[in-house]
């Protein structure tokens, strides 16, 4: 019974950096130890890519080049819209099971809760992006420009990974339940499918074209394609959308976490 006396009180609360890394470490441990998250994400990604490439691909006419070269860059750019639902669900689960309350009752800086999760989930998104890019090459994709252009395009995809991590965190924070978080994250599917990611935007009926043209995903995937071809077209718009999404989602996440 006297064991308790050996616990000394901490001299000071943890600093922001240490606390963020600790929060991130737990998210990563959960991800890596839950095959449903780390392995199934890649399996799902492979299945979708397979379907687009070999099932629908033959019926889609995407300009002059081959469909695989049209599809893979945008598929890699948007993969986080499919895997990101897991982030929203995890955030909602933490709230439902009291884990978030525990974090909020501890003396760590509250910004570390968001920062730690963003770090960890940006890393898991990076893993999805890299794995999907590798699958793309396996399914026949080849770079049309230089390797450097390809790396620039990959870097832009990784930036999107960070942006959408925060967007999905916000969804998880606003969802009333875990199931609602799952449902809410389907909104991302709408944006992904009604963009130029898998089918050229011009192939849609007229009433749908303004949405396809002016929503963020279209310039974001166009910029990735352009970078691979060695062009900077759409890059400014894509970066502006990324900055805007971050500028809204990051403060909303920090403020909303306090009331989680």
């Amino acid at each position: 019974m006297t064991m308790m006396t050996t616990i000394t009180r901490p001299v000071s609360p943890p600093g922001a950096a240490r606390a963020s890394l600790e929060v991130a470490r737990r998210v990563l441990r959960k991800y890596m130890r839950t095959p449903g998250l780390s392995v199934m994400g890649v399996v799902q990604s492979a299945l979708f890519l397979f379907c687009f490439r070999y099932v629908f691909g033959g019926a889609i006419h995407a300009g002059t080049g081959s469909y695989v070269d049209y599809l893979v860059p945008s598929y890699v750019a948007t993969i986080v819209l499919f895997t990101g639902g897991g982030i929203a669900v995890a955030v909602a689960e933490d709230r439902a099971m009291g884990f978030t309350d525990r974090l909020l009752s501890l003396p760590l800086p509250r910004s570390s809760i968001v920062l730690g999760r963003t770090l960890a989930d940006s890393a898991t998104n990076a893993w999805s992006i890299l794995a999907t890019a590798a699958l793309g090459f396996l399914f026949g994709f080849r770079l049309s420009g230089s390797v450097l252009d390809g790396l620039a395009a990959l870097g832009l995809c990784l930036l999107y990974g960070v942006v959408f991590t925060l967007v999905f965190i916000v969804m998880g924070l606003f969802a009333a339940s875990v199931q609602a978080a799952q449902g809410l994250s389907l909104i991302a599917f709408v944006f992904a499918f009604i963009s130029s990611a898998y089918v050229p935007a011009g192939s849609r009926p007229g009433w749908l074209q303004p949405f396809a043209k002016y929503q963020p995903i279209t310039p974001m995937v166009n910029a990735v394609r352009a970078l691979i071809a060695g062009s900077g077209s759409d890059l400014t718009v894509a970066l502006a959308w990324s900055a805007a999404l971050l500028a809204v989602a990051a403060p909303v996440a920090v403020i909303r976490y306090r009331r989680a």
């Binding site: 000071s12 943890p14 240490r18 003396p107």
Partner: protein, 333 residues
């Protein structure tokens, strides 16, 4: 730095009001609780117990009024409060994909423990709460009681001065409840203050030194267990009649002597009433029963139970007279 000093009360609430939109969960709550105690917050569902604990834990901000925890104001100095408290909620807030030890070490580091101290704190809690056998297994495999004990342990690794337990045994089987009770008693013996909410009155009876009853967001009674029981209207006269058909009549006699409506329990053939006049009234009741020739199996004067105190105070049960407790000024029925 922590403003907590030896002289400050454990909790001090003045006109504490917490709202969720239009709903007022705490409505001008006043409360002073001394240090060195296990304090139990009792109240019917929806009374504001959990809201109160969450406000103490700095998870909710008061709309008005103030709340000090060991002298630190929850709104102005929440970090000092967070350094002083450990929270274990209604659900077991542990990461199922991590082992018990990993969970404890993580929480210790988030309290601010350096790595070596975090490992020591985790080991000490594992020993204290008897989790040695399962400490290196993932929590996803734990039983309900084990998981709740681990959650309790996680709130201890920062050596908090005040432990907050929100319905710590809800949903546990009797063995699991006993495990948690033992752990709480051990902590009190070591000098940790404990604030717990419960809707099990036996739990308060087992653990608490000091009890606060809240209803409709206000404190309606506070005191030691003995004081609370006494506040219901002194002792209770209880009669068990031989013939259930005469129970109603026995109740009338109790009423005529004490001027209070009697509580009737037809199944147990029992009638009871608070008796401010004590033994003198008991004698009058016996005479009355004798005159009406009502056969009696058992009759006596006893201390009220915590259940009676609670029901009288919260007015949840019309059979039991609303008590004239000294600190009670709410609505009786």
């Amino acid at each position: 730095m922590s403003a907590a000093s030896g002289g400050a009360p454990l909790l001090e609430a003045r006109g504490l009001t917490v709202r969720f939109g239009k709903v007022t969960a705490l409505d001008g709550l006043d409360l002073v609780a001394p240090s060195g105690q296990v304090l139990a917050i009792l109240g019917p569902n929806g009374a504001g117990k959990t809201t109160f604990v969450r406000t103490v834990a700095t998870l909710l901000r008061p709309a008005s009024g103030e709340l000090r925890v060991r002298g630190s104001d929850v709104a102005r100095d929440p970090v000092s409060v967070r350094r002083d408290i450990g929270l274990a909620g209604q659900s077991a807030a542990v990461e199922p994909a991590m082992t018990g030890r990993e969970n404890l070490e993580m929480t210790a580091r988030l309290f601010g423990q350096p790595p070596r101290a975090a490992r020591r704190a985790a080991a000490a809690v594992i020993e204290q709460l008897d989790l040695g056998e399962v400490a290196d297994r993932r929590c996803g495999t734990y039983s309900g009681g084990q998981r709740r004990r681990l959650d309790l342990g996680a709130s201890l690794v920062g050596a908090p001065r005040l432990l907050l337990l929100d319905e710590p045994t809800t949903g546990l089987d009797p063995a699991g409840r006993r495990e948690v009770w033992e752990a709480v008693r051990g902590l009190r013996a070591l000098g940790t203050d404990v604030l717990l909410t419960t809707h099990y009155l036996d739990e308060a009876d087992e653990l608490a030194d000091h009890v606060v009853v809240i209803d409709h967001g206000r404190c309606i009674a506070a005191g030691t267990l003995g004081q609370l029981k006494a506040s219901v209207g002194h002792d209770v006269i209880e009669v068990t009649v031989s013939d259930p058909a005469r129970l109603e009549q026995a109740g009338q006699i109790l009423r005529s002597v004490t001027c209070r409506p009697a509580g009737l329990d037809p199944g147990g053939r029992r009638a009871s009433v608070p008796a401010a006049g004590g033994a003198g009234q008991l004698a009058a009741v016996i005479r009355g029963l004798d005159e009406s020739a009502i056969g009696v199996d058992e009759i006596g004067l006893r201390r009220p139970t915590l259940d009676e105190a609670f029901l009288a105070l919260t007015g949840d049960h019309s059979d039991i007279p609303a008590g004239a407790g000294p600190s009670y000024s709410g609505s009786s029925r």
